[in-house]
C-alpha cells in the first residue's frame, strides 16, 4: 500500500516536472532533435549529473531501501536487442515528438492527438509481448523486474 502511494507521488512529481519544462510539447522535442535549442539535452545531462554520483555513493555504502531491499543498480552488457530497440525507439520518438511519460502529460495538457499517440505506444508494447511468446528476446533495463510475471 505504501509502495502504491510512493508510486503515485513520484508519478505526480515526474509528470509535474515534465509539464513545467514543456517536455510534453512536440515543438520542444522537435527543436531539440534539430539542434535548434539544446535545453532538453542540458535537462537530461543535469538530471544524470545529479543522480549518478549520489547513486554511486549510496550503492557503495550498501544502502538498505525501506521497500525494495538492498540498493542494487543494473549494469547489463549491451546486446543486439538494445541496439535494435534503441534504433527503432529513436525513429518513433522523432516522428511522434513524444515518448512514454511526456505522452501522458500531453493528454493532461489537452492535446487531443495524444489520444492517438498513447494507444500507439500500447500497441507497440503489445506487439513485442506477442513476439516474446514466440521465443524472441525479452528486454531487461527498466523492465527487468517483471520479466517473470508477464505471460
Amino acid at each position: 500500500m505504501k509502495l502504491n502511494l510512493i508510486g503515485l507521488a513520484f508519478g505526480i512529481m515526474f509528470g509535474g516536472v515534465l509539464g513545467a519544462s514543456n517536455l510534453h510539447e512536440y515543438d520542444t522535442i522537435h527543436s531539440m532533435l534539430a539542434f535548434e535549442e539544446l535545453d532538453v539535452f542540458f535537462f537530461m545531462a543535469s538530471a544524470i549529473a545529479v543522480s549518478a554520483p549520489l547513486l554511486w555513493l549510496l550503492e557503495r555504502r550498501g544502502m538498505k531501501t525501506p521497500y525494495g531491499g538492498e540498493l542494487s543498480l543494473s549494469r547489463s552488457k549491451p546486446e543486439r536487442h538494445h541496439i535494435k530497440g534503441g534504433a527503432l525507439f529513436g525513429i518513433g520518438w522523432a516522428i511522434a515528438g513524444t515518448c512514454p511519460a511526456p505522452a501522458l502529460v500531453m493528454l493532461s495538457s489537452g492535446a487531443l492527438l495524444s489520444l492517438i499517440a498513447i494507444p500507439g505506444i500500447f500497441i507497440g508494447l503489445r506487439i513485442h509481448e506477442r513476439q516474446q511468446r514466440n521465443g524472441l528476446h525479452v528486454g531487461d533495463g527498466e523492465h527487468r523486474q517483471f520479466v517473470t510475471v508477464s505471460k
Binding site: 508510486g7 507521488a9 513520484f10 508519478g11 505526480i12 509528470g15 509539464g19 513545467a20 519544462s21 515543438d27 532533435l33 534539430a34 532538453v40 535537462f43 543535469s46 538530471a47 544524470i48 543522480s51 549518478a52 549510496l58 525501506p66 521497500y67 525494495g68 543498480l73 552488457k77 549491451p78 538494445h82 535494435k84 530497440g85 534503441g86 534504433a87 525507439f89 529513436g90 525513429i91 522523432a94 516522428i95 511522434a96 513524444t98 511519460a101 501522458l104 502529460v105 493528454l107 493532461s108 495538457s109 489537452g110 492535446a111 487531443l112 499517440a117 494507444p119 500507439g120 505506444i121 507497440g124 508494447l125 509481448e129 528486454g139 531487461d140 533495463g141 523492465h143 523486474q145 517483471f146
Partner: protein
C-alpha cells in the same frame, strides 16, 4: 487556474529536480523512474493478467495527474483543447498527421519494449546507474532520432 509556474521551467531547475527524483525512487524502493514499464503494467491490469505490479499503475496515473497540475492548475491561459501537433498540421493534412503520429508511437513503444526501457528508463535512470546497456541504448536512440529529424526536414523541403 493559478499563475504559479513560469512559461517554462529552466533546464537548470527541472533537470536537477528530476535527478533527485531518480535518486529518491531508488532510495525508497530500489526502482528506476522509467515510464514504459508503467505502460506494460497498466496494459496488464486492463487485460486482467496475473502478477500486475500495481504500484506502477499508480505511478502511471500519477504522471497524468502531475501533468494536469503543471500544465493546467498551476498555469493560466492553458484552458481548452488543441491538437498538440500544430507544427505537423501546418505541413500535413490531418489524414497524414494521424497515421504519422500513430506509426511513430507504435515504433517507439515497440522499440522501448525490445530495448527494455525508454528515454527515462534507459536514457536517464540507466545512464545514471552507469549501465553499459543503457548507455548503448541512449547513444543509439539519440543518433536515430536526430537522423530521422533531419530526414523529415529534408523530405518536407525544410518545412518541418
Amino acid at each position: 487556474m493559478f499563475d504559479l509556474l513560469p512559461d517554462r521551467l529552466p533546464w537548470f531547475v527541472g533537470g536537477p529536480i528530476l535527478g533527485l527524483l531518480i535518486v529518491g525512487l531508488f532510495v525508497l524502493a530500489n526502482q528506476p523512474l522509467g515510464a514504459s514499464g508503467a505502460y506494460v503494467q497498466t496494459s496488464n491490469l486492463l487485460r486482467r493478467h496475473d502478477g500486475v505490479v500495481i504500484w506502477r499503475v499508480f505511478y502511471f496515473a500519477g504522471l497524468f495527474i502531475g501533468g494536469v497540475l503543471a500544465t493546467r492548475v498551476f498555469r493560466t491561459g492553458t484552458e481548452g483543447v488543441r491538437s498538440g501537433y500544430d507544427a505537423l498540421r501546418e505541413v500535413f493534412p490531418l489524414g497524414v498527421t494521424i497515421p504519422l503520429v500513430l506509426g511513430g508511437a507504435i515504433l517507439l513503444g515497440y522499440g522501448a519494449a525490445v530495448a527494455g526501457g525508454c528515454t527515462s528508463g534507459h536514457g536517464m535512470c540507466g545512464t545514471a546507474q552507469r549501465s553499459p546497456a543503457s548507455i548503448a541504448v541512449t547513444i543509439t536512440f539519440m543518433i536515430t532520432a536526430i537522423a530521422t529529424t533531419f530526414i523529415l526536414r529534408a523530405a518536407t523541403g525544410g518545412a518541418l
